[in-house]
């Protein structure tokens, strides 16, 4: 076979190219030809096809995502915003924190273990590439119905993959979510978040500048794994003497990643890199074009220098391979020897594969012959942008009219008791400890709070006790009923969860999981959700630092619920002041903060008791969320509360039950006079939390709430070993614990 060089492409303009099989549209292919003034070579076509894919180019979502920048609140804390590997936030005392949430949905359905494992690996390298030591991970997960046979295939694999990879890296897993809903059947959502910490001066960016600087590829050898579309190309272009079907899902090696982390951090400590980028989706195509595009010059790469696991790989395959555990660094010539020495110390393979040039082109050579000659920006940053049509679906009105507040309610106290137990033991509301106990939450020795607490919290500085908290939340049911409100409710819940532990929310990252952008109804959901999120962030003063969009989460015509997942990062000056969720002291008074309205649309109760989804989600009041957060933070700082738990799905009774079980103490609960017991227990009105106040602090706490205008209702006291809703029913903790904790193991163990 002949190598498809630039020269060859010039000489053979009319060769048929497999652009359609690689996922490019006709007009996209024409555009590539126009940019280059000739047909692309096979290698160029490979690069453009992966970089212009929805996953890498955000071509359908870009026009909507712009709002996150346009509506960004004034915020001095944001050090690096959207567009880099991850955003960076100033948390004080010279520290900066970087965090991001990403999806690995499709691979995790095909191959749950490796899909989930490499999802962790990818997000960790993003954080590492910013210059930070990764300090914690979290995993928001969504699966089909808990009792569906395929859930028993997907979930254990995903959980084992997250644990198998994350535990081996030594990163505490401190939070996340596990949600079941039949809409995710066939389209599980496996999102992964990582948090990293560095000093301000350690921030690194993905750019290649300085002619003569060397391009070093280091980490794992490049193999044939993770090549999806290219299999077609391979089978059409090359001989039959080698495997043509490459596995599309990458295979992770956490040990290699651990070495890569320690090696890279040592390289940072000695200030040896000018720019750095991890290799994730689209592999070397992405790393070289993005580095060159963001820098000041061009780049020349000798592709045949890349260390391979499989010597038969073609240049196109090497460019598209998504082999894991690789990084690409730009290093001044005088620092190359030391760089390679540190790699050798950590048994990490490193190769100089090229250098930064003073030109404007990305040029790639294969054994001396040129196979790529492109302006890098056209590959990395100037891909196609689509204004996809969108329209409010015609079923939306009927869905909203199907009011959950009109569903049949329990008529007796016994029935109410039975429904409380039914909701608390349902898969979504049950304890997830069988899952989260498969993750190491203690490693690194800085974990202050971990799941099931409202947010995960890690100590950043051992001397000053500065800490950060992160929570992730999303509610696809709310978003289905109203995507604008649903996105804001996800934001509000995550924000509230961070504040409930005593931390001040600073910034957010998001993972937007939706169906096909080619469906105008899905695109409307996406447009509404992004608008809601951007507006909400502006009101709350928390900028979006970055994130990820995952589209095409649908099977046939059926899309998942629109599922924007929001991660909020907060800071706490002294982790000694954190507020846990457990009710652990008898006699402490329970206060409900916020207003409870009759809001059951999208609620856990409507799902568990009536298998119903309809009506409107709870009303959003972001100013109230801000006030609530301020009260929770002040009460934590001044020692006025001993426990706090946010109210969300499942309502008040869910929160009280979780806090009682966590602390091993019961509670006497008094239904306020003007309140219907059912609504009191199950409504999911937003902007609420329950707190435990020591009697000595009651006056001060009440005064603060009164002065600030936050409704605070005394609803009971921590007491005994039973949850006793007075005048209604009592449930002993032992019975409650059995109901709450037995469900998940019974389904999955």
């Amino acid at each position: 076979m002949t190598l498809d060089t630039v020269k060859h492409a010039n000489e053979t303009p009319d060769v048929d190219q497999p652009w359609a099989e690689l996922g490019l549209k006709q007009d996209e292919y024409e555009r590539i030809r126009a940019i280059l003034g000739r047909r692309p070579t096979g290698a160029e076509l490979a690069m453009y096809s992966v970089m212009w894919s929805e996953h890498c180019s955000y071509k359908s979502s870009k026009v909507h995502l712009r709002q996150f920048g346009e509506k960004a609140p004034e915020n001095d804390a944001l050090l690096v915003g959207i567009g880099e590997n991850a955003g960076v936030v100033d948390v004080g005392q010279g520290y900066a924190v970087t965090f991001k949430v990403e999806s690995h949905n499709h691979p995790s359905y095909i191959e749950p273990y490796q899909g989930a494992a490499t999802g962790v690996g990818g997000i960790v390298r993003d954080i590492l590439a910013m210059g930070a030591r990764p300090v914690a991970v979290m995993d928001p997960l969504r699966f089909g119905a808990a009792d569906h046979p395929d859930t028993k295939r997907v979930l254990p694999g995903v959980v084992a993959g997250i644990g198998g990879y994350g535990n081996c890296l030594g990163l505490p897993n401190i939070g996340g979510e596990v949600v079941f809903d039949s809409c995710y059947q066939g389209n599980p959502l496996v999102n992964a978040l990582c948090v990293g910490v560095m000093k301000h001066e350690d921030i690194h960016l993905a750019k290649a500048s300085g002619a003569g600087n060397k391009v070093i590829l280091y980490g794992a050898r490049t193999g044939g794994d993770g090549i999806g579309g290219v299999s077609v190309l391979a089978s059409e272009t090359f001989d039959d003497s080698k495997p043509t079907k490459r596995p599309a899902v990458q295979v992770g090696d956490p040990f290699q990643e651990k070495l890569l982390i320690e090696c890279t951090l040592e390289i940072f400590r000695e200030d040896l890199v000018d720019g750095i980028q991890d290799l994730g989706g689209a592999g070397l195509s992405c790393a070289t074009s993005e580095l060159a595009s963001a820098g000041s010059g061009g780049m020349r790469v000798e592709l045949d220098r890349v260390h391979l696991r499989d010597a038969t790989l073609s240049p196109e395959e090497i460019l598209m391979s998504e082999s894991q555990e690789r990084m690409c660094a730009i290093v001044e010539p005088g620092k190359v020897d030391r760089f390679l020495e540190i790699c050798e110390k950590w048994d990490v393979i490193a190769t100089v594969i090229g250098e930064v040039t003073d030109g404007e082109r990305l040029e790639i050579f294969w054994h001396g012959e040129q196979i790529v000659d492109v302006p890098p920006r056209t590959v990395a940053h100037e891909g196609p942008v689509y204004e996809r049509p969108y329209a409010r679906p015609d079923w939306q009105d009927a869905l909203q009219a199907d009011d959950a507040n009109k569903l049949a309610r329990p008529e007796t106290a016994e029935e109410l008791r039975a429904q409380v137990l039914k909701v608390i033991s349902s898969p979504n509301q049950a304890s997830k400890s069988w899952i989260t106990d498969q993750y190491d939450r203690f490693v690194q020795g800085n974990t202050v709070l971990a799941q099931p607490e409202d947010s995960g919290m890690v100590r950043v500085d051992e001397d000053t006790n500065l800490g950060v908290a992160v929570a992730t939340d999303g509610n696809g049911r709310y978003a289905k009923l109203d995507p604008y409100a649903g996105a804001q409710l996800a934001l509000a819940e995550s924000y509230r969860n961070v504040a409930a532990t005593g931390a001040r929310p600073l910034a957010i990252s998001n993972c937007l999981n939706f169906g096909s952008p080619e469906d105008p109804a899905v695109m409307w959901q996406f447009a509404e959700a992004t608008r809601g999120l951007a507006d909400g962030c502006l009101t709350l003063g928390t900028p979006v630092t970055g994130g990820n969009v995952s589209l095409y989460n649908q099977t046939g015509e059926t899309a998942i619920h629109p599922t924007p997942v929001v991660a909020v990062l907060g800071v706490i000056d002294d982790v000694n002041r954190r507020t846990p969720m457990a009710f652990s002291d008898e006699g402490h008074l329970l206060y409900l903060l916020g207003d409870t309205k009759e809001e059951l649309g999208g609620s856990a109760w409507s799902q568990v008791v009536h298998d119903h989804l309809g009506g409107l989600p709870p009303a959003v009041d972001l100013d109230r969320e801000k006030l609530l957060a301020e009260i929770l933070i002040a009460a934590s700082r001044d020692g006025m509360i001993d426990a706090a738990h946010d109210l969300s799905d499942g309502g008040l009774i869910q929160a009280v039950a979780e806090s009682c079980l966590r602390g091993g103490k019961g509670a006497r609960i008094i239904v306020p006079d003007d309140m219907d017991p059912f609504v009191f227990l199950f409504s999911e009105s937003a902007g609420r939390a329950v707190v435990a106040v020591p009697r000595s602090e009651e006056l001060r706490f009440n005064d603060m709430c009164g002065a600030r205008g936050l409704p605070a209702t005394r609803i009971g006291v921590v007491d005994g070993e039973t949850i006793d809703v007075q005048g209604q029913f009592a449930i002993p903790l032992t019975e409650l614990r059995q109901a709450h904790e037995a469900t998940i193991p019974a389904l999955l163990a």
Binding site: A160, G163, G164, N167, C168, L169, G170, D253, P254, F255, Q256, K258, L259, W346, D347, D437, Q438, Y439, D440, R441, F442, V443, Q444, G445, N446, T447, V448, R459, E462, N465, V575, N576, A749
Partner: protein, 226 residues
């Protein structure tokens, strides 16, 4: 003056920095040791920390035991230097035969992370002198290959010689034979266990308990009073 405690880092070790912190909190001087280096830098004791050295590939601890640093550790342990192996470090110690038995995959086949209750069975070793025999402590446990096994003869011998140092209480989390969580050699200077005392040394983090600090104060007293 205080004593110097070496903490070995193998490729894939995870709890080395945590162990150094625990050593420091107890009032000892932590000394990082590198797997390729035979020189123990005149430390008075060595901790082999937890993690997944060499990714646990082949078998947990099987590759690390051949590290240059282990040649010196084995030699000095035989001469009486106190050595503590935690989790992966315990696995390395059984691979070197400084301690008998082996660790298999947990009987439920999952990684398990939990706050684990233990009973201190032997408070006479270099690493447990600050506890009392029969004392119950809680420290984090986190592993996938934690099931301690040995042949019946070895187990009987361990029991007869009082060399079972820790036993799991309430729950046997992995199917370890005779609920064994940790053991010692005949001389009492080498101790290995699966749970993680270094993650229970500060009230603020982890489980909020400090039950693991006794390991490090034990060695401090032994070394400084010696």
């Amino acid at each position: 003056m205080t004593a110097r405690v070496g903490v070995v880092t193998f490729p894939g070790t995870l709890d080395d920095r945590d162990t150094q912190r625990a050593v420091r909190i107890a009032g000892l001087e932590p000394v990082p040791l590198w797997h390729r280096d035979k020189d123990l830098k005149q430390v008075d004791a060595v901790v082999l920390p937890g993690g997944f050295s060499y990714g646990d590939y082949l078998r947990a601890g099987a590759i690390s035991r051949f590290s240059p640093v282990m040649e010196t550790v084995i030699e000095q342990a035989k001469g009486g230097m106190p050595v503590l192996g935690i989790c992966n470090g315990f696995q390395v110690l059984t691979e070197t035969h400084l301690l008998p038995g082996a660790m298999l995959r947990n009987n439920h086949l999952h990684f398990i992370c939990r706050d684990q209750k233990l009973r201190v069975e032997n408070a006479d070793t270099a690493w447990t002198a600050d506890y009392e025999a029969g004392q119950e402590i809680s420290v984090p446990l986190k592993n996938i290959d934690g099931r301690y096994v040995a042949d019946e003869h070895t187990l009987d011998e361990l029991e007869a010689e009082g060399r079972v140092v820790f036993r799991y209480l309430d729950v046997n989390p992995n199917g370890s034979l005779r609920d064994i969580a940790g053991i010692t050699n005949a001389a009492g200077n080498v101790v290995g266990l699966m749970p993680h005392p270094e993650h229970a040394v500060e009230p603020l983090v982890g489980t909020g308990r400090t039950d693991g600090l006794g390991f490090f104060t034990s060695i401090l007293k032994k070394l400084v009073n010696a």
